[in-house]
């Protein structure tokens, strides 16, 4: 399965992104890693270009909130993205926040899976559970 991944916005925290690539590979995905400092349009462009079924966004430095408000609007501009599985993880808020409230908020923004401060592999496990359930 094809996955597009990267770190959103002006965020340059690269360590988790490198590990993410390793983990996805190990799990048998075909990975298109856009790296850090990737803006929303670039993610959607890459999804369209590669025909990926999954978009996996990281955010570590607290910017996610600002960008995610624009997700639905932007996504609507593209065709054929209705079945795209959208996942986001990392530090999804500035300062401390409650995981359940954060999850609710990001689901409203258009994400199917929200992993605030969840370990990479736990997160990818829940992705696989999600995919299994959907089929």
């Amino acid at each position: 399965m094809k996955v597009v991944t990267g770190v959103v916005g002006n965020d340059i925290h690269v360590v988790a992104n490198r590990l993410m690539e390793l983990s996805l590979h190990a799990r048998g995905y075909e990975v298109f890693n856009l790296g850090v400092n990737t803006h929303l349009e670039e993610f959607f462009d890459a999804v369209v270009e590669t025909g990926a079924e999954i978009l996996l966004i990281s955010s570590l430095n607290g910017e996610a909130e600002g960008w995610s408000r624009e997700v639905r609007m932007l996504k609507a501009k593209y065709k054929d993205l209705d079945n795209l599985v959208m996942m986001i993880g990392g530090n999804l808020t500035v300062g401390a926040g409650k995981a359940d409230e954060i999850e609710k908020k990001y689901k409203k923004y258009g994400f199917d899976l929200v992993c605030h401060q969840v370990d990479l592999n736990t997160g990818l496990d829940s992705l696989e559970a999600f995919l299994a359930q959907r089929n």
């Binding site: 925290h13 690269v14 607290g62």
Partner: protein
């Protein structure tokens, strides 16, 4: 300061910028309280064998929040106040910063991870700085910091962290490195010029880099080179720095070698009149999410900083892994660190001659290779050296960085180089590094080791 005036004009022609009154700013710096200059405190410290200065981190979007943070810090007996800049400003995206600042002010919710100094402007910010009358250190991570530094100095901020390498390779993906050198040249000159008016403006390099398995040789080389670039432009007070690496001994050795070599290279370029200081960062890598553990780690960092003999320590908080720390958590660290420094006594003087010798040779060899680059100026030599991998920073997100050097931890958690890439680590040093590691493992388990080594403090 006429030299800079043309570049200055271009920088200032920006819709988000204060209209600068440079005459007034000069006047302000000239008559500013000595207390605002960290260089003045360093001078006193070395005269009176004073204690290590304690500087927390911290930046909030709004003026009110930043003011409240400073109040907390002063209560906790802080020595140096921080001003941490948000990441939009760091990437010169003042438009987004402005938008997020407004959202933060209106919504009682932080939409920025630091203080957007340019948007607040120097007139406003100076009020806060002079009110507290403590030295303030600017923490940013900006490759093009020209406008930011003009604003900072005009605000009364007389210590500027960063540099063309240390604020680029860890903090940026594709900002052009050559431009960064030129922008920082501007910054150095501004600092050097203002230094003539009162106490010196202190420049500080950012030694932690990516805080992820960077070997001490790379850290030291970059510290020395940024120091030289800065002194060349006339800066008279400079701090080299590094962050806790995971092995107490490796930290002590790193501290000894960096002090010795900074002195050496400053002399080499005829700048022995500049004063050089050593700054230690509490653990900068991945933190434990357990806040009690985070406090143990922070305390241990303070003990190691003392063993290293740092002049200043920059602190973390129990909330590091969670998100931008609250002002309470930040102030708590300051009070705790001050207490620890007060009760920690009878420090032994530790020397490991072999490790020092190896590290010295590694640093000398890389420096040599940089100097041997055929380019005409130091910054161009460095530029080329980074491009061709003579300097290689593990886990740098920047496209110019080679990413060929591979490091892991040995049994004592020293960071060791197991693949040099193109870095000219001398043969016998490389053999020494490798001799501490188990190299018979397959790639998968080495990758697992690296993942584990990133998370050793968790």
């Amino acid at each position: 300061m006429s030299l800079l005036s043309e570049e200055r004009e271009i920088i200032l022609s920006n819709e988000y910028v204060d209209a600068f009154d440079f005459e007034e700013v000069e006047e302000f710096v000239k008559s500013a309280s000595k207390e605002l200059f960290i260089s003045h405190h360093f001078k006193n410290k070395s005269k009176n064998k004073g204690k290590m200065l304690v500087q927390p981190r911290g930046g909030f979007p709004t003026y009110k929040q930043q003011f409240a943070l400073y109040e907390f810090f002063v209560d906790a007996n802080v020595d140096v106040l921080p001003l941490t800049i948000d990441s939009n400003t760091r990437l010169n995206d003042y438009g987004t910063a402005q938008k997020m600042l407004r959202l933060s002010e209106e919504n009682d919710m932080d939409m920025l991870n630091g203080y957007p100094l340019v948007n607040h402007g120097y007139r406003t910010t100076r009020k806060m700085i002079t009110h507290f009358n403590k030295p303030v250190s600017l923490r940013h991570g900006t490759p093009d910091a020209r406008l930011l530094i003009e604003t900072a100095i005009a605000s009364g901020i007389f210590e500027i962290e960063g540099g063309p390498i240390t604020y680029l390779l860890p903090y940026s993906k594709n900002f052009p490195l050559d431009k960064a050198f030129l922008y920082w040249k501007y910054v150095e000159r501004v600092c050097a010029n203002y230094s003539k008016l009162n106490q010196p403006i202190n420049r500080e390099s950012f030694g932690p880099l990516t805080a992820t398995l960077v070997p001490p040789s790379i850290t030291i080389v970059i510290q020395l080179l940024e120091m030289m670039l800065s002194l060349e432009e006339g800066v008279k007070s400079f701090s080299v720095s590094f962050s806790q690496q995971g092995s107490m001994l490796q930290d002590i050795v790193t501290g000894a070698v960096i002090k010795k070599m900074a002195k050496h290279y400053a002399e080499q370029i005829g700048c022995s009149d500049a004063s050089i200081h050593l700054v230690y960062h509490q653990w900068m890598g991945a933190f434990p999410t357990n806040k009690d553990y985070a406090e143990q780690l922070i305390n241990m960092s303070t003990v190691i900083a003392s063993m290293v003999g740092a002049d200043k320590i920059i602190t973390k908080t129990r909330e590091e892994a969670t998100g931008i720390p609250t002002k309470e958590a930040n102030a708590k660290t300051v009070a705790d660190t001050q207490y620890t420094l007060r009760i920690l006594n009878g420090l032994p003087n530790v020397v490991d001659e072999q490790e020092e010798e190896i590290l010295t040779q590694e640093v000398s060899a890389i420096m040599e290779a940089v100097f041997n680059d055929p380019a005409d100026t130091l910054w161009r030599k460095i530029f080329n050296s980074i491009k061709n991998g003579i300097i290689d920073v593990p886990f740098s997100p920047h496209i110019i960085n080679r990413n060929e050097m591979i490091t892991i931890r040995d049994a004592n958690k020293n960071i060791r180089i197991i693949d040099r890439g193109n870095v000219p680590i001398p043969e016998h040093c490389f053999a020494f590094e490798k001799s501490h590691c188990d190299l018979n493992k397959d790639t998968t388990s080495i990758v697992n080791d690296i993942i584990h080594d990133i998370g050793i403090m968790q």
